[in-house]
């Protein structure tokens, strides 16, 4: 019987440990008494339930033959990593570069990651999105989005 450590198995192990950790941390908050429950009682119950369900799920997975999801092909893995990276870039760079510049870069990069051909179309999509966000959020809804460099410092 083939047994392999898959990401899913790892996730269930993490959930089991997380449940135990929730229960352990809740312990320190104090249970009070059943008549006057403290702040730790409810999360302790949740932690125990999470650890229990996680452990049962993990045990049943380890008992059954390995049933792996077809792995992501290299193109899909690359797209997943790049898109996640673009999201992180947007978050980190937005306060510095401002929402307009970051949106232009993020949309262009996402479109290229998804293999939108040429440069004109990705640039047009990026420009259109930045304009739409400006009109909707900034101009119409008065939401204070970081302008970064555009604010003049």
């Amino acid at each position: 019987m083939e047994r392999r450590l898959t990401l899913e198995t790892l996730f269930e192990a993490v959930l089991t440990v997380l449940g135990a950790a929730i229960a352990a941390v809740s312990w320190s908050y104090g249970f009070g008494t059943l008549a006057r429950p403290g702040p730790g009682l409810y999360p302790f119950c949740i932690g125990v339930a999470t650890a229990l369900f996680g452990a049962v799920a993990l045990a049943s997975r380890l008992r059954e033959p390995a049933r792996r999801e077809p792995p992501l092909d290299p193109v899909a893995r690359r797209r997943l990593a790049l898109l996640s990276g673009i999201f992180v870039f947007w978050i980190v760079a937005m306060p510095v570069l401002g929402y307009v510049v970051v949106t232009l870069i993020a949309v262009y990069a996402s479109a290229k990651t998804l293999e939108l051909e040429g440069h004109v179309k990705p640039l047009a999509v990026a420009g259109g999105t930045a304009l739409f966000i400006y009109v909707l959020f900034d101009h119409w809804l008065y939401i204070d989005l970081p302008r970064g460099m555009l604010a003049g410092g």
Binding site: L7, E8, F11, L15, G19, I22, V25, S26, Y29, T33, L34, A35, R36, P37, P39, G40, L41, Y42, P43, I46, G47, A49, T50, F53, G54, A57, E69, L72, A76, R77, R79, L80, L83, S84, I86, F87, W90, I91, M94, P95, Y99, T103, A106, V107, Y108, S110, A111, T113, L114, L116, K121, V125, A126, T129, F132, I133, F137, L141, I143, L145
Partner: protein, 505 residues
């Protein structure tokens, strides 16, 4: 008579420019969301929720329901014309809808689905109008023990109906419940799981989690798939007329689907999806020609589409009367109403009856609006489905990022959304249901309050619940459901034999 009077007042309130516009925008956005891949109704409702805040609870509720409802309409268009369900509740429509399209009957299929959705919506609204105040009055006698037992009952059903593996559903519920405990506990002002972080003191907002699990995760899931350009069959307005035989065959399935969908909507879980499968299999069983199903049977198209529309209305009953959402979109609505300082539940009908009745009246209008919007514009909506993900996904991604940031001007929320999105992507691959996560997150505080109040009430003696017949009945129902679900002998010898033969019922 009082109900009629309140409904008339509701119509008077709903006929304001703002409410009508909210209804129209919600229905239009919902239809587009139903047609387009990338954002489902849940993520869209989470995205537009902050924009509804300046306009009050009724307008917000109307707009969000319009989105959910419109998505049910829109999803059928691509199912029939492109064989691609715009969202999960339209998967069943593909079975026979696309086959009708291949036989040149796409127009009648679309017309009958739109009419069926309209009839189902009206029946669902009548059901909501009738059952909600009734249940609301009954729920006035609910105390903390009844609410606690109802939560347990709901969680048992939710974990079992949301996924093939109930353990996965249960794990998602507990994760959601855990996240709801992060921050300062309002009952005793005690900070939990904050680890000294000021950002965590405020708790983890449900909006970034919902946007991540339903929006970003969907974007990533579509991005890693190979894109195949769909072939859209064009339909003109004059092609929409069904023939007499199609109309005759559709009437009873529409009515059956509507009634069935409404009652499935009352159950926890992905009610709109379950209702379509239930309606389809019911029609197949009742049909004199079950062999036609899967080859373009009109009953297999109209019944599921009617069911998913009335299920939306059915799921509003527990939300509005008990304040307990049974599906992810209604969890968003609950959170939205709370943001508007309206607490749905038994008291809604006494404290904010105008919210309920204006909502009912506006949905009658919205239902009509969707019919008028969908039939003439069906060709346009079908063409929208041709927008390539290479263009659509980058735009939606940035809209999600900016949308979540704009709620509290907090980059922390955007981090939460992105992490939830990446987690959601893997959860989908591993077939973990994400709706229970959101429902657990939204219901967490209510569950904790009910538990602690129950313990206080009985001075720590949980056996006191035995003196509350309704609470006992709810617990008994939960146990009975578990026994029925997991022990085949409880369903009779025939079932056990079939299971042994590997036949699924």
């Amino acid at each position: 008579m009082e109900g009629l009077h309140l409904l008339l007042n509701g119509f008077a309130s709903s006929f304001t420019a703002v409410n009508l516009l909210a209804c129209f925008i919600g229905a239009l956005i919902g239809t587009l969301v139903g047609v387009l891949p990338g954002l489902g109704p849940t993520a869209t409702m989470a995205l537009i929720l902050p924009f509804t805040l300046p306009y009050g609870p009724t307008t917000g509720l109307i707009m969000m329901t319009g989105v959910w409802y419109g998505a049910m309409y829109g999803g059928s268009t691509t199912s029939i014309l492109v064989n691609i369900p715009g969202e999960a509740a339209s998967v069943v429509t593909c079975f026979d809808g696309y086959q009708m399209c291949r036989k040149g009957r796409a127009g009648p299929a679309l017309a009958l689905v739109a009419s069926g959705s309209f009839i189902a919506g009206t029946i669902g609204l009548l059901g909501l109008q009738f059952f909600a105040p009734l249940l609301g009055n009954a729920a006035l006698s609910f105390g903390p023990p009844e609410f606690l037992c109802f939560m347990i009952f709901a969680f048992v059903l939710l974990s079992n109906l949301s996924s093939e593996a109930p353990l996965k559903g249960a794990l998602m519920i507990t994760l959601g419940l855990f996240l709801s405990t992060v921050g300062i506990n309002p009952m005793d002002s005690y900070p939990r799981f904050t680890f000294g972080s000021e950002k965590l003191m405020l708790g983890i907002d449900f909006l970034p989690i919902a946007m991540g699990l339903f929006g970003i995760a969907e974007i990533l899931s579509i991005a890693v798939e190979k894109y195949v350009k769909p072939v859209v069959h064009q339909v003109r307005l004059r092609d929409l007329y069904p023939n007499g035989d199609e109309v005759r065959r559709s009437v009873k399935p529409m009515l059956r689907g509507s009634v069935l969908g409404f009652f499935v909507g009352l159950l926890p879980g992905p009610c709109t999806v379950i209702s379509t499968f239930a309606a389809y299999s019911l029609e197949k069983r009742l049909s004199r020609h079950p062999e036609q199903f899967g080859h373009g049977a009109v009953e297999g198209v109209v019944a599921p589409e009617s069911a998913n529309n009335s299920a939306v209305m059915g799921s509003m009953v527990p939300l509005l009367t008990l304040g307990i959402p049974f599906a992810a979109p209604s969890a968003i609505m609950l959170a939205g109403l709370r943001m508007h300082n309206v607490e749905p539940g038994p008291m809604l009908f006494t404290t904010n009856p105008d919210v309920f009745w204006t909502f009912i009246a506006a949905m009658y209008v919205g239902n009509l609006m969707l019919l008028v919007l969908n039939l003439p514009l069906v060709g346009l909506f079908a063409r929208v489905a041709l927008i390539r993900p290479q263009i659509l996904l980058p735009v939606i991604s940035v809209l999600c990022l900016v949308g979540v940031y704009s709620v509290r001007n907090a980059m922390f929320d955007v981090w939460v959304m992105v992490i939830a999105g990446i987690l959601g992507f893997f959860l989908r691959r591993w077939k973990y249901p994400v709706s229970p996560f959101i429902i657990g997150l939204v219901l967490g505080p209510t569950t904790e309050n009910s538990l602690r109040q129950t313990l206080l009430m009985f001075q720590g003696d949980v056996a006191g619940i035995g003196d509350r017949p309704l609470a006992v009945a709810l617990l008994a129902l939960a146990v009975a459901f578990l026994v029925f679900r997991h022990w085949p002998w409880a369903r009779g010898k025939g079932y056990a034999l079939k299971m042994e033969e590997g036949k699924s019922l």
